[in-house]
Symmetry: C2
Subunit: 177 residues, 2 copies
Amino acid sequence: MNNFKIKKSEILFKGKVFDIKLDEIEYDSSGNNGRREVVLHPGGAVVLPVTDAGKIIFVRQFRYPFQEWVLELPAGKLDPGEDPQTCATRELTEETGYTAGKITKLGHIYTTPGFCNEILHIYLAENLTPGKHAREEGEEGMQIIELTIDEVKNKINSGELVDAKSISGVMMYLNKS
Amino acid sequence: MNNFKIKKSEILFKGKVFDIKLDEIEYDSSGNNGRREVVLHPGGAVVLPVTDAGKIIFVRQFRYPFQEWVLELPAGKLDPGEDPQTCATRELTEETGYTAGKITKLGHIYTTPGFCNEILHIYLAENLTPGKHAREEGEEGMQIIELTIDEVKNKINSGELVDAKSISGVMMYLNKS
């Protein structure tokens, strides 16, 4: 499948969310060298929670890279060794307060396969019971927003919903309904 | 909207595809400090090319972070100062050989708003004329694959199409059709 050897591989940066790896490669056929920079990410889980009334629960949170509040499905990074479904269940409750009576996998996505190995596992959460969410409002705070399917489609059309994992999750949900 | 000050901001790594920025911030209310690591990406354009027969044109390419061939819509990084539509037009021809008689914007996405500022602009390309694509087969080579809408939906269901920008593009296209 590939026609190169990895001559050298080093970790340039170890962060809280991701690490950076720099590889030096050599092509078998030509002997030419190249460099490949990769963001190493532990992966995460995304939840598409649907209420009994058929509304989808989103959160709006401050996202530092954009200095902007972004509308997204609840999601979070995997803890080391954590099962994605456990992560999904945990993030749903932490971010929205809801617990799910039924959780089913919708699929998984590669968010940016060109430069990062992040995989997000997407789950449908149903039979929801409300509760108290663990995160407070503030810089890291979240607003909880419930939308009908038509409202979601309109927000994709209007550019109010631009988060790729959320749009992918909605596509998978509609595709299976 | 935010209640912190950026005390220090430095570029830790300058790469071919992305840079890494590390910010030290201080919260106004508490005086507590925090660090924010961000992948800086120039952004890019994605093309959803539809043939007169209604098929969508995908490419399959080797993606280094996964060491795997990944099925995706044609896409590429913006050159400095490049208009996204110019980038989309260029990438369509480079990767598939096709030129588009009509190109319209479907929307834009944030691929990974938690840690990266990448924005991808997604375009619908129609009235296609075939030609010779500029990229050869090989490690960086591409296979061109035309799929009906039903085949695309099946590949999302089966986990053969997992690229988030492509699934988002398909959702936007179906949403507007």
